[in-house]
Symmetry: C2
Subunit: 346 residues, 2 copies
């Protein structure tokens, strides 16, 4: 075992020499199309490669063939269950295609996002997938679009998840319909008086869910009083704050609070409890997304299931389904209402 501590990795050249064949033959045996090299040679090459513990240099392959085999994924925050589930889907679908996933987190900053897209572009990935809403002003927005467009113009693919505001292929969740269905289900459960917790007005996801919910209620002649709509950050703590706010401004008579996503709903539940309101006895709660935690909180959270992993895998598939059509396809994935203990029939 003569293993020098810090030698350099075996190269194709080394393998070829070890096997007593040419570089080209070694290359063909290890990667090129199958039916090209004599079995004897192929065997010798394979053995030599194993002996040398050869691992093809992906970067070199990428330069040589002018195309890498990676998928770049940009999320707001990988620790957020919403994004980590999507990431799981992306990874699964990418692996199935032999692609490696590189990930970066924008921390919800559009400036950072732009930097990252720029950096990721250097990888020459097959696809860049963007997910996580931004609240950017027009300048950052335009720069991002320009950057992505440049990527596309040079042969790249771009897919967005859940943000149809940008002119690229997108996988969207049917937020409007899901929220409307939820509203209907809740009315069916006997609820009549509602409050709501939303995110920033600029967030399409939030506004779609809010308007879907409102429209669903409207079908039954129910409306939400403007004072009963709180807005806060799209996070657990935002939900907590909004819950406190509702408590402070008064939601007497309100039977159920709908939060536009689960993490906010869970934050609100905590706020209500901390404020002395029992859930669901004194106030029922419903969310949106069906993150895994929704099952585990007590009471289990009524919500609208979004097939998160599927969102990720669909994004990858969408990227490769585009037969050079610059058409910005849109794939819509449906949702399912999931009634749980946080909104018992009354």
């Amino acid at each position: 075992m003569n293993s020098r501590p810090s030698a350099s990795p075996a190269t194709l050249q080394d393998v070829a020499r070890e096997a007593g064949v040419s570089l080209a033959t070694a290359s063909r045996s290890l990667n090129g199309s199958v039916r090209k090299v004599h079995d004897d040679y192929r065997q010798r090459v394979l053995e030599a490669a194993a002996r040398l513990n050869y691992s093809p240099n992906l970067s070199a392959q990428a330069v040589a063939k002018g195309a890498s085999s990676t998928v770049a994924l940009l999320v707001s925050d990988i620790a957020d269950p919403y994004f980590s589930s999507i990431a799981a889907g992306v990874i699964r679908a990418a692996e199935a295609k032999g692609l490696i996933v590189t990930m970066a987190a924008t921390a919800r900053s559009s400036v950072r996002e732009l930097e990252l897209v720029r950096a990721l572009r250097g990888q020459r990935p097959q696809v860049i997938i963007l997910t996580g809403s931004r609240l950017e002003g027009p300048p950052a927005h335009d720069a991002l679009v320009a950057e992505l467009q440049a990527f596309i113009n040079t042969g790249g693919r771009v897919v967005l998840i859940s943000q149809r505001e940008l002119p690229f292929s997108t996988v969207v969740v049917d937020n409007y319909l899901g929220a409307r269905a939820l509203a209907n289900s809740l009315v069916e459960q006997g609820y009549r008086r509602f409050a709501a917790i939303g995110g920033a007005r600029a967030l399409m996801t939030s506004t779609d869910r809010l308007s879907g919910f409102a429209d669903g209620l409207a079908e039954h002649g129910i409306a939400i009083h403007p004072n009963h709509v709180a807005r806060a950050e799209f996070t657990r703590d935002g939900g907590y704050t909004a819950g406190q706010h509702l408590l402070a401004t008064g939601i007497t008579g309100v039977q159920l609070v709908f939060a536009v996503n689960d993490v906010m709903a869970i934050g609100a539940m905590s706020a209500f409890r901390d404020g002395g309101l029992a859930v669901p006895e004194s106030i029922a709660v419903a969310g949106f997304d069906d993150i895994s935690t929704a099952r585990d909180v007590t009471p289990a959270l009524t919500t609208v299931r979004v097939p998160l992993e599927e969102l990720g895998s669909r994004a990858v598939e969408l990227a490769f389904s585009e037969s050079d059509s610059p058409a910005n396809d849109v794939v819509t994935v449906g949702t399912t209402v999931v009634l749980r203990e946080s909104s018992p029939a009354i």
Copy 2:
């Protein structure tokens, strides 16, 4: 705007030509050490690059300098909050060093893990970080060690998170001490009779936590009856099953059940409730990890906080702190007992 749909990306050569300078000057202006090229030239190059929307080809850079700028991260399942938090830490620390993170999921299969390490090695990453316990038999184990060793021998770095069984640098959680501290705190709360839920015997994480807890109790002359220790899978459903098992075999008199991780504790809580035992009135529960859900369940879960993100960032730092010392350093991160409503003072 003459943007041909599918041209190829601008190259350094293009930039140099556009700026009217040599390839080398362009390279130096864009990347090389700062104080080397005249400001006039530098400006022209920068402008040309912007005009052409140039993005350096990272793969080419990697081959040219013989070193890529990526960190490879292997997790069991990115959708699991435990791993996604670690991943967040890795990403943060890597970005701080200008490194891009590539991720892959092993789905807890040691075979898959080996394949992935092999594939990832092709990226010539600066570091390969492994996290997520395996239960593999010796063959897979040896193959993995060999593969990682080969990577190290050719200049790579390997860091493991929370699995000191392997001969590489590792970031470990002080499971033993954390569990011992928890035991002490619970005794202080007035608890005297305990049961426990662990994972498979081969899982160091589980056995360390169990023995730490037992030793902590022993300091007060308390022991857990062997019949009051259940074992199951390291998942929520495993915890549920173990909870049912304890219920079935009888845990009369037991005041608190300690589960070696939060997800199992949460599963057990459900099992107890479904079995008619109120938590914490009839039976108290404690877990380990302090995943974010722990705060949100009702009653909120007493647990031992593990700084998950820190685990990830430490791993990256550990990789680069090794000054070529083949020493397999071990960094231990401490934990904190977090008492919540699932174990009120009695």
